[in-house]
């Protein structure tokens, strides 16, 4: 069955090509750091399941050592000049969008189609398989059309990857920290503190503690999924559902969405907030968060009001 067993090695080979490309980039004074970092990611993607838990832990130590010691850099943007690009854009016109659109279109069609083939393709991973197929098709089309030298595509991809840098594995690091927090019982302690702060018998106090607790704990953890079980245990179940007779579906759904408002406001949600800023070459590392806060705060207030009005009828 096709699933992550093919998707991970495929992504791993692309990271291996990034490593090879980084090694050749003499304009980057820290090219060995970049190459080592990408090679470790490639190793994790290709062979992570065979390294054992401790082996993966050591691999993480390697990644952190390279990033933490400042061994990664960026080379000169050795690509085509803006004039060349404008000239080519004028010549190739809207056909340039075709390979770019192959990826989302294949992801869309593939997701729908693969779900009908549960024996051939793991239905849980239909989207990632479809996305990988889209990348293969788009890359194939672009290679046939542009006929670049073999490493050019990977040099260009690596140029974008250098822009993201060590932030590429921050989301995985934070997910792992979440696992350690769960192991250490951090959630129970936080939940106990929040529960103790609510004035006795105050419904609005409990609603505020639950929703603001979801948002704040999400800001700290970078992930509403980590905050949800904690806040449900501390406030949602004892006070809102069992205490005040709230509708469990509404309490759960709106609580999670209050957490999502927190996700919009935190650098800890690196894949949504920091990585795009790097990918778009923004000077302000927190530019995306700044653009989101004025939507997130009023939306959090709306969630508080919705929970208060809808759940306790």
């Amino acid at each position: 069955m096709i699933g992550l067993n093919l998707v991970y090695p495929f992504a791993g080979l692309i990271f291996l090509a990034f490593a090879a490309s980084a090694l050749r980039d003499r304009s980057n004074p820290k090219r060995f750091g970049n190459a080592g970092f990408y090679a470790l990611i490639a190793l994790s993607l290709v062979a992570g399941d065979h390294l054992g838990d401790l082996g993966n832990g050591v691999l993480v130590l390697g990644l952190v050592a390279i990033a933490g010691l400042g061994l990664m850099g960026r080379g000169a943007a050795a690509s085509t000049s803006p004039e060349q690009r404008s000239e080519e854009a004028g010549r190739r016109r809207n056909r340039l969008f075709v390979p770019a659109l192959i990826i989302p279109v294949t992801a869309l069609a593939g997701t729908l189609a693969f779900k009908q083939m549960p024996t051939a393709i793991d239905p849980k991973q239909a989207t990632l398989v479809a996305l990988s197929l889209g990348v293969v098709l788009a890359l194939g089309t672009a290679l046939l059309w542009f006929r670049p030298r073999p490493m050019t595509a990977f040099d260009e991809g690596r140029r974008l990857m250098d822009g993201v840098g060590w932030a590429a594995v921050l989301p995985q690091m934070l997910a792992s920290l979440g696992a350690v927090f769960a192991l250490a019982g951090v959630g129970e302690v936080v939940g106990g503190l929040v529960g103790a702060m609510i004035p006795q018998g105050s419904l609005i106090g409990a609603v505020l503690a639950y929703t603001l607790g979801m948002a704040l704990f999400t800001i700290v953890m970078g992930n509403a999924f980590a905050a949800f079980p904690v806040m449900v245990a501390a406030v949602g179940i004892p006070l809102l559902i069992r205490g005040a007779g709230g509708d469990p579906a509404i309490v759960a759904a709106i609580g999670m969405l209050a957490g999502f408002c927190g996700t919009l406001m935190t650098p800890m949600a690196a894949n949504f907030n920091l990585v795009p800023a790097a990918l778009l070459d923004l000077k302000d590392r927190n530019g995306v968060i700044r653009a989101q806060i004025p939507t997130a705060l009023p939306l959090l207030a709306v969630n508080i009001a919705l929970l208060y009005w809808l759940a306790f009828r």
Partner: protein
């Protein structure tokens, strides 16, 4: 209470701008020690979770295609296309993208768009071009690019929970079942709709204001 030291380290580390990977590792070590987890057990737990969450890193496989297309003028073409369309503003572009992202996410198609697949190659350069045209500024409009990324996130977050088989819905169902409360996924996803509408209205209003601000300059 000592296990909360990890949270303090995370917050302080981010504020003091140490390398975040280092901060995360130190926080994990402090938390583990406070909870009495042995160093090797801690390293193994961390490594296992790292290996289990590799799916977030897979998305970078789109970069060679995107980079190759950019080399041959994709972003420039996206800008020219926008410049040629009369009445096409940054606000309208992003409002349309917000609706597209919310609707596709609500249908469970969360990976159809994203920062690497659509924002960097298409939406951000188009938004920048439209904003530059409206304001008459020569410099790159990073605010418009940031707004494009923000719009992608907001559309995704407040659309996906309407889909019944998304991870967050399954998590909610699982957690509630732990307390003996059984709920159909559909009941959870229905209650994501009011917030989805509010998100569209609030962010839509902000995009409209953003658009006006760009045009007035």
């Amino acid at each position: 209470m000592l296990v909360l030291s990890g949270i303090v380290i995370i917050v302080a580390g981010f504020l003091l701008r140490f390398n975040p990977l280092l901060v995360v590792l130190v926080s994990a070590v402090a938390t583990g020690l406070a909870a009495g987890i042995g160093p090797l057990d801690l390293l193994a737990a961390f490594g296992k979770a790292f290996n289990d969450s590799r799916y977030v890193t897979v998305i970078y496989m789109v970069l060679p295609v995107i980079g190759l297309l950019e080399r041959h003028g994709l972003q420039e073409r996206a800008r020219t296309l926008i410049a040629g369309l009369k009445g096409f503003t940054v606000g309208r572009l992003l409002l349309g993208y917000l609706a597209f992202r919310q609707i596709t996410a609500a249908l469970g198609l969360v990976s159809v768009a994203g920062h690497a697949q659509t924002v960097r190659p298409l939406v951000a350069p188009m938004a920048e071009a439209a904003a530059q045209q409206q304001s008459g500024e020569e410099d790159r409009d990073e605010e418009a690019a940031a707004m494009a990324a923000a719009t992608d996130n907001i559309g995704l977050f407040f659309g996906e929970d309407i889909f019944i088989a998304i991870g967050s819905i399954l998590l909610m169902k699982g957690v509630l079942e732990g307390y003996g409360i059984s709920i159909e996924p559909l009941h959870l996803s229905v209650w994501a709709i009011p917030t989805a509408i509010a998100a569209f209205l609030i962010h839509g209003l902000r995009l409209w204001l953003f658009d006006r601000r760009k045009s007035r300059r």
